[in-house]
Amino acid sequence: MRKCLPLSVLLILGFSHAVTAAADPTGDPKAGQEKAFFCSGCHGIPGWRNAYPNYREPKLGGQHADYLVAALKAYQSGLRSHTTMHGIAATLSDQDIADLAAYFSAPVKQK
């Protein structure tokens, strides 16, 4: 039994990690569209510019969901620094982030 203890601890840790990974919420593009109202104020305007430094803010339509989730979480944690994006990402739950990513990543008709 004593010899098995480290193994069982490892197993439990392994399982709990699997549960955490599975708990990443699934994004709902419809919910995301409603939550994207705020994003659209900048990202929804063609050619809208970041004030300082001066560059056009990235297009999000058709971007990979996984990348968008990673970007928002990096803004949230401060790993990626941008005052406005940090402020906005800080208000988002994991579900919000998943929904927004699902909405923006959905295929967009190319002109």
Binding site: G44, I45, P58, Q63, H64, Y67, A70, S81
Partner: protein, 109 residues
């Protein structure tokens, strides 16, 4: 100088400022972006979702991202290594190549 001449002068100045931003050479960028293409896709449409699509993205945003990776303002172990080797000119060329690729990202409201 009458009003019209000053207006034309202002317009010409604005045009110069605009074209100065789009200075990248996409042909050169295609060559310089061979390494980028292995993760981001030959035409910037990556198939692995952890690597962002670059096709169709604004070139000035891509230059900004590369500059931040180079300076360390934006942290990513993989990108820091690549960006460190790039000059401002390289960044503009690479950005202009990916920006003009088709079927990439678009503005979505």
């Amino acid at each position: 100088m009458n009003q019209w001449t000053s207006l034309i002068a202002a317009g010409a100045l604005a045009l110069c400022a605009y074209s100065a931003q789009a200075a990248g050479n996409p042909e050169a960028g295609k060559q310089k972006s061979q390494v980028c293409q292995s993760c981001h896709g030959a035409d910037g449409n990556s198939t692995n979702a952890q690597f962002p699509r670059l096709a169709g993205q604004y070139p000035d945003y891509l230059v900004q991202a590369l500059s931040e990776y180079k300076s360390g303002a934006r942290k990513n172990a993989i990108m820091a290594g690549f960006a460190a080797t790039l000059s401002e000119r390289d960044m503009q060329d690479i950005a202009s190549y990916f920006a003009e690729q088709k079927d990439g990202v678009v503005t979505k409201r």
